[in-house]
Amino acid sequence: MATWTTPSSKTWNVGALENAVDLNRYHRDNLNVSLRPLAIKPTTEARVSDTTFRDDQHLWFYLNPNEQWYVQFYLRWNNVTSTTPDIAVTFTAPSSTTFNLSVLDPFTNYHIIYDGMAGVTIGASGIDPQSVMSVFRGPVIAGSVGGRFQFQWSQSTSSANETQVMVGSAIFGIREVP
């Protein structure tokens, strides 16, 4: 990975034709190196009495083979009324993918590390969270197989009260290695 250098200033001219040199220097591979939204949740999704991991309807992005991403995932979640609030989360990915996402548990202040497919419960302290923001961050590294990097979730303890993943949850990322 080459060290980032700020290019000299450029004035764009009306009607000028762009070329690869300009795009790569000033727009950096068509903005692939910038932090940008990969998935944004347009509506709130709810689960009731359900402890089975299922795909989130919106929170996923596509990994091409051999790409390496740095991801920031802002998960806004809520257990509306339960006094045993929790959400169990996991991720699925193409078979050759490795990833290492960390999130700070909102109640224990411990970091939880996801480096595999096992699900982990966050927020299982018995405190009633009203709209918690959990932030996952870290690398997602594809192998020779492409496919979806998919967020899955469920209730950890089955409850007749809704656990929600809320509108506005979003995955942002930088494609570090094309």
């Binding site: 990975m1 980032w4 250098t5 700020t6 764009w12 000033y26 740095y70």
Partner: protein
């Protein structure tokens, strides 16, 4: 630095307008968080407390600029517990000043906010910031420094470094996926910076 304005939309089939490119993309992506450095492979230190440069974790900042940066170190060690097994440092050369904040662990279980004040050569942490390993054998929580960096007339180079804090004949690793992201905010607003070396 001007306030953010909403740029006009693109129109299919129309030649690009200079004002559109300038306002939406700027000339150097200064308005967007972007990759500054990224580590593509693990790096090992074994039985050594001597700081070494972390390959690929280097950022050169041009003169007279102000940046927001996030340095994210991901690491692992076979040893966990109350003895720090990892130390990290950001070495600098050139004229610069910066304020980076991180969370690290004062014991194996207690996080602490720490403000690291850079003054050109990072004198407070030339021996490395000790970091407790929370989980052995796998990744530990990332060590993330966030903050502002200002450069003087000569610019500067920042390099990530690491070592073992407690020497042990085991592999301590800075992991693939460690990275530096940031964006240029504008010109350095502190004209007296060059006196700080």
């Amino acid at each position: 630095m001007t306030d953010w304005i909403v740029a006009p939309p693109f129109v299919s089939g129309r030649f690009a307008k200079a004002t559109q490119f300038q306002s939406m993309l700027n000339t150097d992506m200064s308005m967007a968080m972007h990759r500054l450095a990224y580590k593509t492979s693990d790096q090992i230190v074994n039985n050594s407390s001597t700081l070494v440069d972390i390959t690929e974790m280097s950022v050169t900042v041009p003169p007279n600029e102000m940046w927001y940066m996030e340095w994210e170190f991901r690491y692992s060690s076979p040893t966990s517990g109350d003895t720090p097994a990892y130390k990290v440092n950001i070495a600098t050369s050139g004229t610069m000043r910066g304020y980076l904040r991180s969370i690290y662990w004062t014991t194996a279980t207690t996080p602490l906010f720490e403000i690291v004040d850079f003054r050109g050569d990072l004198t407070a942490y030339t021996t490395g910031l000790p970091v407790y390993i929370i989980q052995s054998g796998t990744y530990s929580p990332p060590l993330i420094f966030k903050g502002l960096v200002f450069t003087g007339t000569s610019g500067c180079t920042m390099k990530g470094q690491f070592a073992q804090y407690a020497v042990t004949a085991e592999d301590t690793k800075t992991r693939q996926g460690s990275c530096v992201n940031g964006m240029k905010i504008g010109a350095n607003p502190y004209p007296d910076l060059t006196v700080l070396t």
